[in-house]
């Protein structure tokens, strides 16, 4: 059994138990729907955990499907056509990254990407959108996309300018200014 699957099962179980427990303090009418959904979900989580444990015991008997999308398509259309269809596309070795899912052993990359994302959110909350967006764009384009500082700075500046025009002038929306910036403005009496 994949550890992430097991952890996800436990997370979902914990969420449902917590929500049903909280709902139990509500009046009958208010807790009815959370119970109607939450209690069967708890049962399903437990069943799923049991199924996963059982599946992990017979894992050696199962063959993981590692066929590419094109090979799968070739096999499926052959089934529907009632005769073998063999395509050159199924045998070609295309130098391409997997276009779906997350590759295994990518914990380091995951930590980096999450750090970028969380830093961006924290940056917005503290310093607002219009300070955080260019800093995030330039840093990401330089560090992750490998652009030169000049190109990263130019791209970041142009993109921020365009967004400012669309959001502020086009949609006429005032974005969050950031707690630190608001505090500083308050202190300065601005």
């Amino acid at each position: 059994m994949k550890s992430t699957t097991f952890i996800m099962n436990l997370v979902m179980l914990a969420i449902f138990i917590t929500l049903v427990s909280i709902a139990s303090y509500y009046p009958p009418q208010a807790r009815f729907m959370p119970f109607v959904v939450g209690i069967p979900a708890i049962v399903l989580c437990i069943v799923q955990i049991a199924l996963d444990i059982r599946a992990s015991r017979r894992k050696s008997l199962e063959v993981e499907d590692t066929r590419s999308d094109v090979v799968k398509a070739q096999d499926e259309v052959s089934r529907y056509a009632g005769r073998a269809v063999e395509s050159e596309a199924a045998t070609v070795d295309v130098p391409v990254m997997d276009m779906a899912g997350v590759p295994p052993d990518s914990v380091r990359r995951e930590v980096i990407l999450w750090t970028f994302f969380l830093s961006f959110v924290v940056g917005i909350l503290l310093f607002g959108f219009w300070i955080s967006i260019p800093i995030f764009l330039v840093t990401y384009l330089r560090k992750e996309a490998g652009l030169s500082w000049l190109r990263a700075l130019l791209t970041g500046a142009i993109a921020t300018g365009l967004l400012w025009l669309v959001v502020t002038k086009g949609l006429k929306v005032d974005l969050h200014e950031g707690f630190v910036i608001t505090y500083l403005f308050d202190q300065l009496g601005m």
Binding site: T4, G38, K72, F117, V121, I124, L137
Partner: protein
């Protein structure tokens, strides 16, 4: 019927939005790493507050046309953008290798457009047939339809692991109960947080469950086809025109596979790539020279492409009229429609029939614009397939956070976004489906309201109404079939790709 078309065509606002939707849809289809689902999720915040018809047309067209451009990388490089395009690769790529990339692209784009138009036509034909059934539904059936919707989408997205899909769907439903209970006035799961009293922001939840995990995954894995030679991207307009003319030459095949695709799209839970596979198989079966398939037969491009795009028109029918999305893309589209104030079900037929016709015409006009535009720019559009994922990720993150904030103007939604993104990424990492969550969240409130009404009208006897029994039977059969499939581990379920 035709007044809707006239109103649409004479409205510069709607036509302008449709054009923008077509361009974004085409760009999304060509660029690796951004799927149709993600593009709708990103667009939702920007249509919030827009006129119902204009917003719906924009989103539908954007969703419908990205399949038309998605086959460029399948044909030219043998790299299908998603499962739907894989069947086209079987003959499209061998054609490109023989120096007929332009002919294959001309045929596939025209076939896709024709499929989209016929799919919309099939939807239109089905309206008067289904109208009496839909109008006979009561609150009891609407509660059960919500459960059926979750079950179908759980089966579609999770295959044999249907329990995981249902768990995720129920997670969406229980989160839909956050906020003020309409019956008692109690603020459920909200504590003292006033911003939650109106419920969880659907936009934030959809962005967190789909956009953020997809972008994190794209950033982690890279995701570009830059290793492929750009030399293969060269072809002439003459070749493209030859390809266009292949569709009228094979009109009977195009018509049959379009209708088949639309009908398959109407069956929730089947969807996915099954339409393309079945129609390719049908083309092989009915061909006088089946041995040519897989080696560059143009019919092997026309059949799956007509089916793939016709399926969208078909899938719109259960989405709009029953509230059961025919595909995971439609699940997010349904969420977007609800945000725009479009309630699926009988009221659409009784009060907003003009909207239904406008959407049908939007599919037709959108496909015509997309095909005309793509045939013209195909030579250059291919260059977009070389865009690296690392160049897309930061801009999408910016749009996601802007979208989560703009929707309600609450900074707290950014915190909610991070929390739900962690769950969304966990689901993606563990291979759990995420589409049922959206259905649970969007149908949760309708389900609760319908359940309360049904109980008030009939008590627990509402389960024994004839239509209720039919729906309960369908739910039970779907779960039983998924469990049965799950007991056969060596067989891959039809129509299932990566969980979505």
């Amino acid at each position: 019927m035709f007044s809707s078309l006239f109103n649409m065509l004479t409205s510069p606002h709607i036509m302008g939005l449709m054009l923008i939707g077509v361009l974004i849809g085409i760009w999304v289809g060509i660029t690796p790493g951004i799927g149709g689902r993600l593009s709708i999720a990103l667009a939702i915040p920007f249509v919030f507050g827009m006129d119902m018809i204009a917003g719906a047309v924009f989103l539908l067209v954007m969703h419908a046309v990205n399949g038309t451009s998605g086959q460029i990388s399948s044909i030219m490089f043998g790299v299908p953008g998603d499962g739907d395009d894989a069947a086209t690769t079987l003959d499209g790529y061998p054609m490109a290798k023989k120096g007929e990339a332009g002919r294959a692209l001309g045929a596939s784009m025209t076939a896709s457009g024709v499929g989209g138009i016929i799919g919309a036509g099939v939807f239109a034909v089905m309206i008067p047939i289904l109208e009496p059934v839909i109008l006979s539904f009561s609150p009891a059936e609407f509660f059960l339809l919500a459960l059926l919707g979750i079950t179908f989408i759980a089966f579609l997205a999770g295959g044999s692991n249907i329990f995981r899909g249902i768990i995720v769907g129920f997670y969406g439903v229980i989160l839909a109960t956050i906020g003020m209970d309409p019956q008692t006035g109690i603020a459920r799961f909200s504590g003292d947080y006033l911003f939650l009293w109106d419920g969880l922001s659907l936009v934030t939840a959809v962005l967190a469950l789909f956009a953020v995990p997809e972008m994190l995954a794209l950033g982690i894995r890279g995701g570009s086809i830059s290793g492929v030679s750009q030399e293969t991207a060269k072809f002439s307009y003459k070749q493209i025109f030859q390809g266009v003319m292949e569709v009228p030459r094979h009109w009977w095949l195009a018509l049959r596979t379009s209708i088949m695709g639309a009908v398959i799209g109407m069956i929730p839970g089947l969807g996915g790539s099954a339409a393309a596979w079945m129609c390719y198989g049908h083309a092989v079966q009915t061909s006088k020279h089946p041995e040519r398939f897989g080696k560059g037969a143009v019919e092997g491009v026309i059949a799956p492409e007509t089916a793939s795009n016709a399926k969208e028109g078909g899938a719109l029918l259960p989405t709009l009229l029953f509230g059961i999305p025919g595909s995971s893309g439609m699940a997010i589209l349904l969420g977007a429609f609800l945000i725009l104030g479009i309630q699926p079900g009988p009221t659409l037929l009784t009060e907003h029939l003009d909207l239904v016709w406008t959407l049908i015409w939007a599919l037709v006009v959108g496909n015509i614009i997309a095909v005309s535009f793509l045939l013209f720019v195909a030579r250059w559009a291919a260059a977009l397939t070389f865009v690296r994922g690392s160049l897309i990720v930061p801009f999408v993150f910016v749009l996601v956070l802007l979208g989560a904030y703009i929707n309600e103007g609450q900074w707290q939604n950014l915190v909610i976004l991070v929390m739900l993104s962690a769950i969304g990424y966990g689901l993606l990492r563990a291979g759990w489906p995420r589409a049922p969550f959206v259905i649970g969240l969007v149908l949760g409130k309708i389900a609760e309201e319908s359940l309360n009404k049904a109980l008030a009208l009939w008590g627990l006897n509402f389960f024994l109404r004839p239509l209720s029994l039919v729906l309960i039977g369908l739910i039970t059969l779907t779960i039983a079939y998924a469990v049965y499939k799950g007991r056969k581990p060596s067989k891959m379920p039809i129509g299932q790709g990566m969980p979505v």
